[in-house]
Each structure stands twice: as C-alpha cells, then as structure tokens.
Amino acid sequence: MTRERLVNAVILLGLLGTALGAWAMDAPYTITLATKVAILALAGVGLNIALGLGGLVSLGHAVFFGIGGYAMGILASHAQSYSPILTTPFVIEGTKSMPVIWLVAILASALAGLVIGALSLRTSGVYFIMITLAFGQMFFYFAISWPAYGGEDGLSIYVRNGFPGLNTLDPIQFFLICFVLLALGLGLTARLARSAFGLALTSARQNAARVQAVGISPYRLRLVAFMLSGMVTGLAGALYADLNRFVSPTMFSWQTSGEIMVFIILGGVGRLFGPVVGAAVFIVLEHVLGGLSEYWHIYLGALLLLVVLFARGGIIGLVAGREVAHD
C-alpha cells in the first residue's frame, strides 16, 4: 500500500512538475499536453468509478464526455452570439463562466447517467457492454445529424471561457485549474472507495447475491455509481472542450469510449491513479511514436495487447506490485 502511495505521489508531482518546468522554459505546447493528460485522466477517473469499483464495463462513456463538451459548446456559443438558449417559458442565457458550465455539464451528465443507467443496468455482462455502446451510438448519430449546434462540423468557441480571478488563456493557469480538478476527482474517488457506499459497491461487484442478502439493492448501488461516474467524465468533457475551444460529435464516438477505457487498462484496473498514468503514457506515445512513424497505431495496439495479456496490473501494477484487491 505504502509503495503504491509513493508511486501515486510521484505521478501527481511528475505531472505538475512537467507543466511548471515547461512554464519556466517557456514551452507552452508542453503545458497544453500536460493539460490534456490531466483532463483525459479525469475522464478515466470517472469511468473508473463504474469500472474499477462497480465492475460495470461501460463502452459508452463517451456519452458523458460529449455531453460535458456540448454543455460547454452550447452555453458558450450562445454567450458568444448574445442569443438566449431559451426564451419561453423563461429566458435562459448562455454563459462564458467555467464554474456555471461545469455545473451544467455535471447535472446534464447525472441526468443522462440516470436514464441510461436505469435502462442499461437491467442487463449485465456482455449485454451491458453492448447496450452502453448502443446508447453511445445514438448520441453520436444524433449529434451528427442535428443541425442546430453544428452537426458534424461541431462548434467553435473563439475565446476560452473564464474563471473568476484567473486568466484561462494563459496555458499554465488553465493547466492548474484542470490539475486541481483532477486532484479533487482523485481525492473524492479515494474517499468514495472507503465509504459505506464504496464498500457496498465493491461487494456487489464481487458478489451481488451477498449484497442482496443483507438487504441492499445492487441495482440502486450501480445506478448511483454509474451516475457519479458519468458526472466526473462529463466534467472532464467540459474541460476538454475548453482546452480545444471546440466541440464535435467525435467526442461521442465509440473510439472515444474505447480510448478512455484504454487509459484505465494501461495504468491498471482498480488502481486509483491508473487513469492518470494511462492517459500520460497514451499522450507521450502519441507524440513519440507519432514522430517516428505514420503507422504508430500499430505500436500502440501492440503495447496495449502486451499490457492486457502479460501485465494485468497495468503500469502501476508493474511498478508498485500487485497488492491491490481486485478480481
């Protein structure tokens, strides 16, 4: 345990150090990459609540990532054009304030999580994987075909949204916002895992009949876990859209769902910091391998295969040893 904690501290400080170092050396693009790692890691932290704690293999988490993205895109584009989102029965204006956008992203994701979860959790196993994938596809095609918010073209925001007291256009300040949210997400997940809810949820993953026999409904546990999971991933989606100042249906694609899952696996399933390591490795690979070969996806695929086949604890498992409880 202590070894894993040490590894975790190194990971978090490494990310922070990379960004601060890049800032000191005036390498803004490196800060952008570090920001991307922090945001994608947060998306993975979200999925990890469902996947790692709850054992729910959701191949549709791009839904939440996309909802977060579009929450930002829709609110900011209306603010940008000074046109209200809704005029009847009451007026809703757009906004360029990050905290408001985050709140909307989280609430919208919670609502989607409630609906999708309530329906999908009636199934289990492969059927659950597939029905979440199907919901992802529904959102994807809806986003592409619906002309109001750009369809396939997506929505562009010219200036990054604001956060009171900070200049979000400055890469390092935006990085710090994302970093703090990632740290919060990690902290909350850690507490969640040790809470009453966490105990019941992880027990339900291992043995649903046992949880039922003590009078707790696994369905409700999983539904809440799915919602919480979606909320965190939705927040990450809003941040990702702000990083790019752009949102498009690609955020809803099933490849996005797959990639978020890849972060978790690369890092190590059930490891709190798995998604952070996974996202960092993914981004570094994209840039190192991408520079070496046009066909870098082959190497990414091979690496992923090796991790799944031979290093089941993921990268953290290799470094910190396999002492974490996981089926």
Partner: protein
C-alpha cells in the same frame, strides 16, 4: 408509394440482413462456444475484402477472389487465435474488449501499411452485373439477389453443420459445458481454433461479397461490426438462430426506417426539415430497437442468462 417500390425495399432489407447474418453468425458462434467477445471481427471482414480485391486485381477472377477471401480471413483468424485470442478465453470481458480493440488498431494500420491509403477496386463479376426483372415488374440487381441466395445458403449450411455433423455436435457440447467436452477427449484447443477460423472465414466472405458493391478501404469493418453486435445482442448472444432473426430484423428496420421515416415526418413538417429530422432518427433507429428489445428481454430474443 407503390407496391413495387415497397417490395424492392423489403428485398433490400433482406439483403442487408443476410449480409449482417454472415458477420453476426461468426461473432455469436465465437461467443457461444468460447465465451469471447471479439471486437476485431470487423478487421477480418476487411481482410477478406482486401484479399479479394488483391486477387481479383491480379487474376481477374471473382471466384478466385472469393476463395482468397475465405482463405485469407480464415488464416488470419487462426493465426490471431493461436497468438492472442486463446489467452483471453479465461479472462473477463473487459480484457477481451481491450485486447481485441488493440487488434483493430494493428489490423487497420497494418492493412494501410501494406495496401496504402487509397481504396481498392473490386468489381461485380460480369455474369451477375446489371438488373434482372422479377415477377411483378421489379427490376432488381442480380448481384444483390445473389448475395441473398448466398447468405441463405450459408445459413442453411451452418444449420446442417451444427445439427448434423460431428464437429457440430462438439460445438454444441462446447456451448453447453466446456469441461465436459475436454473430458470426452476432444482436443479443445484445436476445436476453438477451428471455430474461430470458421467465424473469421464467414466475416471475410461477407467482406468480399460486399466489397464488390462498396468501397474496399481501411476502416470498412467497424461500422459493420457495430451493426453485427446490435444483431447478436437483439438475437441473444450465442444463438445462431437469434443471429439470423436479429439480422433480418435489423436489416429491415434500418432499410425501411431510412425509407419511410422522412416521409412520415413530411406529414408533420416542411419537407426539408422532415428529411433532416427523419434521417437523423433513422440512423438511431436500430439502436432504439436494440434498447427496446433488451428492456423487454434483457438477454435478447433467444438468449439464455
């Protein structure tokens, strides 16, 4: 809407369904016997199409191209099974999803590396090109009719294989009880490789058949893969009969939805908006169908828990 048009659309739905069945049969067989969820099935479809296009380009023979597609996809399937897949049977679905996701990346970029970024060409054989007039004055492409017949023939062959042959008995035994058939002295790893190669060959065959009327390009497998998953989930994973019914259901829903929905919305709103909204909804329709089926029957139409 004329009856002729409607019948033609039903034929189109049937053809799409039969095509999907070729894909879905392999997927569901592999799941039923080995308990494996294989995302890379679409890559085998692509391998079949590329092999067919390459052989047709070199020899000019469609028949040789079809045989090449079967051989190449089966070989690719067998190699992948021996190297990777067999290590996944005992794993949970998560590991299977990720490992086969990795295989997609490798297959796609590998194919692009070998064949380049431009689509390949595969033509319909001369005997089957052009339309034929069916009773009732319906002009319908011969090649699509041939696909329907080929697909039904494969479905029939598969039925016979599973119900009447020794290997079929082993496959059914494998679905029921894995330890049992090992105890009976069947070489289980050989059986698994064989089943996987069979599923792969069906996918490759579908790829080649469709390659002649579509574009043979990298990434062609994934949209079909997702449709095939929808099919087997609707039908009940592991059930060949379910795959057949599911495939026809999805084929019909998709084709008729695309055809009827815009018109239906046209009754309520102006035509331009109706086509946009109608086709948006049509593209989501099969997923809605799948969600509905799972809500009523959480393990699909013919699935067992």
């Amino acid at each position: 809407m004329s009856a002729v048009l409607f019948i033609e659309q039903v034929l189109n739905g049937l053809q799409l369904g039969v095509m999907l069945f070729l894909m879905a049969a392999g997927l569901t067989l592999i799941f039923g016997v080995m308990g494996l969820i294989n995302l890379a099935h679409g890559s085998l479809y692509m391998v079949g199409a590329f092999a067919a296009a390459a052989v047709a380009g070199a020899t000019g023979s469609f028949l040789l191209a079809l045989m090449a597609s079967l051989a190449a996809a089966a070989a690719a399937g067998a190699v992948v099974e021996v190297l990777v897949i067999r290590r996944l049977y005992a794993r949970d679905h998560l590991d299977q999803v990720l490992a086969t996701f990795a295989l997609i990346l490798i297959f796609s970029e590998g194919t692009r590396w070998i064949f380049g970024s431009f689509p390949l060409f595969l033509d319909i054989p001369a005997v089957l090109s052009g339309p034929v007039t069916l009773p009732g004055g319906i002009a319908y492409p011969k090649y699509r009719l041939a696909i329907i017949l080929a697909g039904l023939a494969v479905a029939g062959g598969l039925y016979l294989l599973i119900t009447r042959t020794r290997i079929g008995i082993q496959i059914r035994a494998g679905e029921a009880d894995r330890e049992m058939i090992a105890a009976l002295g069947v070489d289980i790893s050989k059986l698994y490789t064989l089943v996987f190669a069979l599923g792969a060959a069906l996918a490759g065959f579908a790829g080649a058949l469709v390659g002649a009327i579509q574009s043979v390009q990298v990434g062609m497998g994934e949209p079909v893969l997702i449709l095939a998953f929808v099919v087997i989930v609707i039908g009940g994973i592991g059930s060949i009969k379910g795959a057949f019914v599911g495939a026809l259901l999805v084929g019909m829903t998709d084709t008729l939805g695309r055809f009827l929905l815009p018109g239906l919305f046209g009754l309520m709103m102006d035509p331009s908006a109706a086509t946009t909204v109608g086709s948006a909804l049509a593209s989501m329709l099969i997923y809605v169908l799948m969600a509905l089926v799972l809500l009523v029957r959480p393990t699909g139409l013919y699935g067992t828990a």
